[in-house]
């Protein structure tokens, strides 16, 4: 059946692009890499590693590794203040969302990015700004730093660092009131 316009609108937003790139590497997701370059206005120095090497790298960085997961994609690992799960779920509730997927703890990187993409679609700029400023960017910066320390290919560090800078600008635009997709 033909995808509804809403669907297309929902799909066409940069957070979802980041989700695809930061989730387990799949050929379809990698094809979006050049769109990613366009958004973050940057060019990838060397050519993109093969899918197999990326799969190994992703598992080593984010799933399980020897000696331990260097960059666990969970907010509670980087934020030390109090009960992070409550904090995150309060944000979801505030934006009138209830987290359905339970195969990851609520502070999972992919869930938070999907949440941001929903906020963008429903134009809840205020909550998006607050979520970025108070919760997401503080830990994503540290996460990307951890990725830098152990990412041999440099591919995932490139992605996380550019997303980090991009989202910082996004936050500035949000503060200056420009709620549309940044130019």
């Amino acid at each position: 059946m033909k995808k509804s316009v809403k669907r297309i609108m929902m799909e066409a937003n940069f957070y979802l692009l980041f989700v695809n790139l930061l989730d387990y590497p799949k050929r379809a997701a990698l094809s979006l890499f050049d769109d990613f370059l366009k958004i973050v206005k940057n060019s990838y120095p060397s050519e993109i590693p093969k899918l197999e090497t990326l799969e190994l790298e992703y598992t080593k960085l984010f799933i399980n590794a020897h000696p331990f997961v260097p960059a666990p994609p969970f907010a509670s690992f980087y934020l030390s203040s109090g009960d992070i799960y409550n904090e995150v779920e309060n944000y979801y509730k505030k934006a009138e969302y209830l987290i359905e997927a339970r195969d990851f703890p609520p502070d999972y990187l992919i869930y938070e990015l999907v949440f941001l993409s929903n906020l963008l679609n429903d134009e809840k700029a205020e909550i998006e700004r607050e979520f970025l400023e108070e919760h997401f960017l503080p830990w994503f910066g540290k996460f990307s730093q951890k990725v830098k320390e152990s990412d041999e290919t440099g591919f995932y560090y490139f992605i996380s660092e550019n997303i980090n800078t991009f989202l910082k600008n996004r936050l500035k635009e949000l503060r200056n009131g420009k709620t549309d997709i940044p130019s």
Partner: protein, 195 residues
């Protein structure tokens, strides 16, 4: 530290606002000390008896562009991260023209009228109120009459370097030549129409 610091270092919005006040402070100081608190001096450029406005603006552009060019060439400033006004050529032209007329009548521009109003000039206050009215007219009329008038003649290029491929330093050189040529000329005109 590589400029622009706000974007590279990712300052928080609050820090940006503090710097906005500081920059505004020196901007106001510069405008005042340049004598732009008096409408007579400002309007002089159009009535040929005091070209201070022309000289100050042009010289400021030359100095600023020289510094910008120098810093970005030695890598201390990422020129592409500066924020540029989107280039709507036709709108700029029409806007500029109307602006000129208003300037010659009122004797102020929004910034200098604020400076002069603060120093107690009633006509500056009147002008400032007028600016509010002008903008209000535009805002309220925008959806019906003026929709799109501000987005005419859009071009992609953000700077002339992009547009014509002329390097930055060459453009600055041209500006300097203009300054060298026009400043003495303007002094002569000024002396002639001294009031």
């Amino acid at each position: 530290m590589i400029g622009p610091l706000y974007k590279v270092l990712g300052w928080s919005h609050g820090t940006l606002l503090i710097f906005a006040v500081i920059i505004g402070f020196f901007f106001g100081y510069a405008l005042y000390r340049s004598g732009f608190y008096s409408a007579k001096k400002l309007a002089g450029v159009f009535y040929l008896y005091d070209f201070a406005v022309y000289k100050v603006i042009f010289f400021a552009i030359v100095v600023a562009s020289l510094l910008l060019w120098f810093f970005s060439s030695i890598g201390l400033l990422k020129f592409e991260l500066l924020s540029f006004h989107p280039s709507y050529l036709w709108s700029a032209a029409i806007g500029g023209f109307i602006f000129g007329i208003g300037f010659s009548i009122g004797g102020f521009c929004p910034g200098t009228s604020l400076v002069s109003a603060v120093t107690g000039s009633f006509d500056a206050i009147a002008f400032f109120v007028g600016v509010y009215l002008g903008i209000a007219i535009w805002d309220l009329g925008y959806p019906f009459i003026f929709k799109g008038l501000n987005h005419l003649g859009k071009i992609e290029a953000k700077t002339m370097m992009e547009l014509w491929g002329i390097p930055y330093i060459i453009l600055i050189a041209i500006a300097i030549v203009i300054v060298i040529v026009t400043f003495p000329l303007v002094d002569k005109i000024e002396k002639k129409n001294k009031i």
